[in-house]
Structures are given as C-alpha cells and as structure tokens.
C-alpha cells in the first residue's frame, strides 16, 4: 500500500513545477550559504597565518640583533628595545595565541563574528582584561550572517510549509478527499504516508544540497564525517518536526490558506518569538552588571597598588626569594610592575567574578530555555559543532589567560635576576597550544529532544483524529 502511494505521489511531485522550483531554490541557498561560511573561515585562517609569519620574522630579527650584540657590534636600537633584555622579548615579541577553526566552522558563524581568534599576550596588560572582541562594523553583528545555520533554522521550515500547507486541504477542496475516504483505508494513515513521501523527497533533496555545497567548499573529509553526521541528523530531525506540525495542522480541517496562516504563525512562534522571549528573560533575570562600573574599579585598584609599588615589591621578593638577584636588586620598572600585577589581579578578581557568575547564570538559563524551541536546540548544536559558541570563546579566553600567566612566569626570573636573552632562551620560549573541546554529547541529546517534539506532535495528530473523527477533516 505504501509503495503504491509512494509511486503515485512521487510522480505527482516530480512533475510539479512548484517542487522543481523549491528544489532549485534550496540548492542555491545552500551553495550560497556554504560559500559565505567558507569565506569567513578563510579570512580567519589568513589572519592567523599572517600573525604567525610576523612572529617568525620578528624572532629572526631579534636573533640577528642578539648575535650582533654578542659579537660586540653597536646596534641602532633604543635601550628599551634591546632584544637581549628579557623585558623586551616579553613585551615586544609575543607569541600568537590562536584558536583554529574547526573543520566544519563554515556551517555556523555563531559568535565568531564578534570575537577575535588570535591575540598576542605580552607581559603588559592584565591578560584577563584583554578585550577579546574583534574590530568590526557593528551593523554586521546586527544583521548576522547568511550561513548554512540561517538557511536551516529559518528558511528550511518555510520550504517545508510551502511543501505541505495544502496537503489535505487541497484534496478536500478539489473533491478528491471524499473519494479517498470512500475507499477501504484509514484517512489518517493515508495522510501520514503522504507526509512520509514528502519527508523522503525533501530529506533527499536537503541531504544532496548539503553534501554538494560542503563538498564544493572542501569540507567533506574523513575527520569531518562524525560531526557532519550529527549536523545531518539534527537538520533532518528539525525538518521532520515541521512536517509533523504540517500533518497536525492539516488534520484540523481548515482551508489551504488557513493552514498556511497557522503554520506561519507557528514559524513566527518557534523561530522568532520564543527565542526573543527566552533571551529577554535571561537578560532580565540575570543581567550582567555594566562594565562601565568595572573600569573605574580597576583604575582605583591600580592606582592604589601603584602607590605602594615599592612595598609590594619588597613583600613580593620576600615571598619569592628565588627571584632575588644576587646583585643589588634593581628596582626597575618591570620588577615593580610584575609584582604589582599579581596584587591587582587578586584585588580585581572578586569584581570580575560577579560578571562571570551572572554570565554563567545566563548560560545556564539558555541551556534550560533552549528546550522550549527546536530552533534554539538547533542553533545551540550548530554553534557547538562549528566551534563558534560562547563556550568555545570562553574556553579560548581561559587558555589565553593561562598562557599569558605562563609567559609572564617564564620571564619573571629572567627579569628579576637580570639575565640576558640569548639563542637558547629564544628557543625555549613558551608556545601556545589550543586544546580542542568537543562535545558531541550535547548535540546528540538535542537531537533526541527534537525527536521528542516530533513524537508529541504526531501523537497529538493521531489523538485529535481519533477524537474528532473523519467528519472534521472532510467538512
């Protein structure tokens, strides 16, 4: 029975101008979106590569100068730029601390347009205060990106709606429904099978469009396969959710255009309104205090600490005898600075903690709130898989802070002991390695939640039909 219906439905669908148009549209959208995503990733890679090259060139210059100084030549460089001084290397020859894009980063821009993907932490500047936001036209951030995530979250449901809003109503309006209802089969099952055929057709089209666009952008490789599978499953589940809604709405027995209106209202609800409301609630319940207050706090603390710089330094050295130089302690700028930085960090930590605590609360709220809409679930997973979620940037930030600490710690003994920098020291400079955080589990659990949504809606449809009977559908 299913194969019979399948055959005729397919013939009807494939001959339909409408369907052909929708398929082409879907393909074009995916291709365009993937191209955009690739462009952004390329920009990111290029920026990182350029930065790394600059570091290499800088190092080469430094080594050359160090050699000259070692050989006793005079060099035309200001004293505070002498590369044999540890403070100079520490400040003016930083390393690139970068977060490489994940292989499928082109899928979802997420938060990547807001944050920088590489920084060069020096000894100066409180690392935890480093501004990680990228320099960009804020209009770009306001409008967002035309990436695959946009196509799937926003546009795919509309394509499904266009595909299904008159599934049953058209048959009724054309008079064919009564004819079918007069046959020995359940109208409910008949409708469900009709829906299934379309799920198959659109699902296939979607998968092909996705594969083609990713392949063209070179994102189909062995190591992307597991993530790709998850993307694919999530997208299909989301698509099926909208088909399920269409199934339910059609059962209500309204006219075609009433169906379309109902489905579109649901689209507005799940894709626009619920996310906006959840976001707003998050902001209202757990508002992050204004950073405006933070700047003054920081300055006050810095000013206080700088006043007691000498005392701090002596206290510091008492606690860190290993750093005391054998020669007379040079109470130079850097020694005082480094010691003071420690104290400032400790003082400012509690203030920063309040920001982070509120942000963490918001994140938690988001994790709970996302359950209210499949669109939210999808966005969450896409960002995770693409490595462009808030969590990724926070992780990157903490890695950078840790590296900045290591960097500073590396130079501290050198500065305090007034050691010179030579080839060996240069070779031992700390390098940044980014440890990837992967979380496929949350993606999978989001997938399951969407399936639950699907089941609930379909079950709702069946229950409604059982209760209302055939009349409401045929009316």
């Amino acid at each position: 029975m299913f194969t019979h219906q399948l055959k005729y439905e397919l013939i009807g669908l494939l001959r339909s101008r409408w369907i052909q148009l929708l398929s082409v549209l879907l393909l074009l959208l995916c291709l365009f979106a993937a191209y955009n995503g690739r462009q952004k990733v390329d920009q990111r890679l290029e920026a990182i590569a350029t930065a790394q090259q600059e570091v290499q060139e800088g190092d080469a210059r430094a080594l050359a100068l160090i050699d000259s100084i070692a050989d006793g030549h005079a060099v035309n460089v200001s004293s505070w730029q002498m590369p044999d001084k540890p403070a100079t290397i520490g400040n003016y020859y930083p390393r690139v601390a970068y977060m490489p894009p994940k292989p499928l980063a082109l899928f979802a821009t997420g938060q990547s347009d807001m944050f920088a993907h590489y920084v060069k932490p020096s000894m100066r500047g409180e690392a935890m205060m480093l501004d990680f936001t990228e320099m960009t036209n804020p209009v770009q951030l306001l409008f967002g990106s035309f990436d695959l995530a946009f196509v799937f979250i926003y546009l795919l449901p509309l394509i499904v709606i266009a595909f299904t809003y008159d599934l049953l109503s058209r048959e009724r309006e054309q008079g064919a429904l009564r004819l079918i209802a007069a046959q020995p089969l359940s109208v409910l099952h008949w409708l469900w099978q009709k829906t299934l055929v379309r799920i198959l057709v659109l699902g296939t089209l979607l998968s092909l469009a996705l594969l083609l666009s990713l392949a063209l952008q070179g994102a189909l490789t062995a190591d992307t396969l597991p993530d790709l599978l998850l993307y694919w499953l999530l997208s299909l589940a989301y698509m099926v959710f909208w088909f399920a809604l269409a199934f339910l709405i059609n059962l209500l027995g309204q006219s075609s255009s009433q169906n379309a209106v109902s489905m579109l209202s649901l689209w507005v609800l799940f894709v626009l309104l619920i996310p906006a409301v959840v976001a707003q609630l998050g902001n209202s319940l757990y508002p992050v205090p204004s950073r405006a207050g933070l700047v003054n706090e920081l300055r006050l603390v810095t000013a206080e600490v700088n006043e007691k710089a000498d005392d701090i330094l002596s206290n510091f050295l008492r606690d860190h005898l290993e750093l005391a130089s054998e020669e007379e302690q040079q109470t130079g700028f850097w020694e005082r600075y480094l010691a003071s930085q420690r104290v400032i960090q400790e003082e400012i930590r509690p203030v920063l903690n309040t920001y982070e605590a509120q942000l963490a609360q918001q994140q938690q709220w988001t994790q709970r709130g996302k359950l209210l809409s499949p669109a939210l679930l999808l966005q969450d997973s896409f960002n995770e898989l693409s490595g462009t979620s808030n969590r990724h940037y926070e992780h990157f930030r903490s890695e950078v802070v840790r590296f900045a600490e290591d960097w500073r710690a590396f130079f501290m003994p050198l500065i305090f002991k007034n050691q010179a920098v030579d080839k060996n020291v240069m070779a031992e400079l700390p390098t940044f390695t980014y440890t990837e955080t992967g979380d496929r589990l949350s993606g999978f659990s989001n997938f399951l939640v969407i399936l639950v949504y699907v089941l609930l809606v379909v079950a709702g449809g069946f229950v409604y039909f059982r209760r209302q009977g055939l009349e409401s559908v045929l009316a």
């Binding site: 200001s78 036209n137 035309f146 906006a276």
Partner: protein, 468 residues
Amino acid sequence: MIFRITLKELKENLREGRIRLSLLIVLALLLVSVFISRGYYLSVQQQHAEAKEAARDVWVSQDEKNPHSAAHFGTYAFKPKYPLALIDQGVDKYAGISIYLEAHNRNEAQYMAAADQTALSRFGELTPDFILLFIIPLLIILISYNAFSRENEQGTLRLLKSQGLNMWSLAMGKWWSVFLPVMLLCCLLFGVAAIFLGSLEDFGTLAPAELLIMLLVFLLYYAVFINLSLLVSALSKNSGISLVLLLSIWILSCLAAPKAANNLANGLHPYPTRMAFEAAIAEDKKNGLDGHDPWNQEAIRLEKAVLTEYGVDSLHQLPFNFDGYRMQKSEEHEADIYFKHYAYLREQHERQTDIYQATALFSPFLPARFLSMAIARTDYHTHWDFADAAENYRIQMQAALNNDFAQKTSYGDWSYKADRKLWESIPDFSYDPPELGEILQTNVLNIVILLLWFGLSLGGLFFATSKL
C-alpha cells in the same frame, strides 16, 4: 466610496478571530517591549552617569604628579544613550560603551554589551524595533494577503464590478483598512514612548519633531508592505500562493537581503583584525617620533629646528621646557598616525555602507532600519562621531597637560608636580550627538530609496488592480 469600502473591510477584518487575536498579540508585545526597553534604558543611563561621575572624580582627585604621568593615567569617555534609543536600540548592543583616553594611544571603544550575552541574543530580542521592523509587516501580510484573492474566490469581485465599482477605489478602500489599525498601533507605541520620554530629566533635548519623523519612517515602511501585499494578492491565482509569495518577500527583505549584504560587504571590504590594525599602527609609530627617548631621529631634527628658531645653542636656554614641547609634538605625530589608520577604517566603513545601500534596492527593510537607527542616534555613524569626539578631546587634553609641563618648568626639571588645579582645569568630556538636520542629510539616500520603494510599489498596485 473609498470610505464606505474601508469601513466594511475593517468590520470584516475585526470579526475575523485570527486577525483580532494577532492584533492583540502584537499590541501586547509592543507594550511589553516598551516597558522592558524603558527599564533597560534607565538602568544603563544611570550606570553611565555614575561611571562618568566616578571617572571624573578619579581624575580630579589624583595625586600631584607630573602632567605627563597624568596623561598616561588618563580618563574615560562614556557614550551616552540618547532617549530615542528607547524605541530603537540599533547597534548599541554591538558597539563599545567606553573609550580609555590616554597618552600615545587611541583606543577603541570597549565592552560591547553583546559580548556579555549568550548566543541566544543573536536571534533578536523583545525590543520595540524588533516588533516594529519584523513583526508588524508580518501582521500586514496576515491581514491582507487574501484581500483580492478571496474576493475572487468568493465570487464577490464580479458582483462588485457589476455594481459599477472602480477597482482602484476598491484597492484604496482595502489599503486604508489595513493602514488604519497599523497606524493606530504605531501611534499608541510612540505615544507611550513619548510619555516615558517626557518623564525623563533630559527630555528637554528631545524635540517632538524627531519622534514624529521616526513615526513617519515606520509608517512609510508599512505603506510599502501594504502596497506589496495588495499587489501580490491582486495578481495571485489563489490565496495560498499569495501568502507564500508575500512571506518570501518578507524573508528576502528582512532577513536574507541584510545578511547577504553583510557577507558581500565583509568579503569585498573587510575590516582588518584588531591585532593587525594595532600592529600596523605600532609599525608606523616605530618609524615616527618617540616621546621617551631623546635618541630618536625625528627628535634630533626637531631639536635643531627649535634651537635655530629661537636662536639659542642649548635646550636650557629655551623659554620653555623642551621635554614637554617634544612630548607634545610626539603626541601630535602619533595622533596623525592614528588619524591615517582610522581614515582607512572609515573608508572601509563607507564602502560597506555603499553595499548596504545598493542592497536596499532589493529590500525596503534596509533603508527603514538605517533611518530609524540614525534618528535614534544608535547607528554606527553616531558611534564614529562619538569616537571622533573622544579623540579630539583626548588630543586637547594631552596638549593641555604637555603644554603645562612645557610652560611651567625648564629643561631637565622633572621634579615638577601639577596639582588638582590643573586636573580640574581640563573640562569633563561631554558629547552631543548630531542634530536631526545633519542626520537627515547624511541619510538622504535612504530616504530617497524608501520613497522610491513606496512609489514603485504603489505603481505596481495600480497596474495590478487594472488587471482585475
């Protein structure tokens, strides 16, 4: 006749449960969003005011020190929120709120609010501008997608024609029946906003004219959508197709076109990364004047020039402290370097803006968005204006400090410590956003495009009704 038709259409629409419900929901959303927006605005204003006061306090009560040390200590410029931000928050969430003003460096605005939020907020928030720009056009589509197609399907269109009704009159009657409730909603929103704004202390700066012009922008935007809805409805074979088409137009205008413009603008005229930008500036600085080290080439040239100008042999003989003078010159040179680099940035910004304006030919949403933001002073242009004002202030502040050192001491005297009098003599930073006239002038192209959309869509509607 048109009035009669409008009345009947209104009666019909208001009896439609779906439309009534939607109107109520939109009204509720608008009111909620205005309340939330007001709360946000008030809290941010307060925070900024407090921070501004605290920053000033920190500045004037700093210890006695060398003016150049005070220059390094610096102060902060906070970006004020303009009252109309209550209605349209524009790009404020994505632009920094404070700029650190210190010697030798022009800093970018820090702490964009969005960086402290989750990815959820990228979906859009429940703000008045979200409802006004996205939801109300949907409401328009919902009310009018079948305006003509249902008359056709019901058979009433033929009857109307046989009664001698002119189709254009019918179109106008329907047009007003959609416009009036929408206009009412808007006026209500703006009325409530006006009441809120009137209760603010600094309302005096806000002219009712601005509120009115903003209202007009939105009404024009809605007029375009009504034209498009009726036009598509008149040309469509059935209501279902009409709805799908109109929705596609909405998606294209409000979501797809802006995003595509983004990608295009970013691809063709990208901004440099922050690191690269700073590196380029550092590079230029290295080759330029250096305020701390007298062994720099430029400094030597300057020294010679000044000595010659004053006809003396040594710096000690100058009537001012050369160190102070040289530091000021260095500061000016660095400011020039920044100016050059920021000019490039501004160029990229303008090229990107050109792309947005070109894309506006595909989307009435874009000019309306930009106009609304501009009038609310929450657009990128205002942010640039603020940043430039802060930079000018910084330059003047540096000059005042360095010149004080140059005038009050003689060469080699580093023991000089300025006190509170000097700190207080430097006025607090205050920023006034551009005037309405200036804003309208800058945005004249957006106004023209929106009017073009209105004219063309009205013409299209005329053409479509003639085909009925």
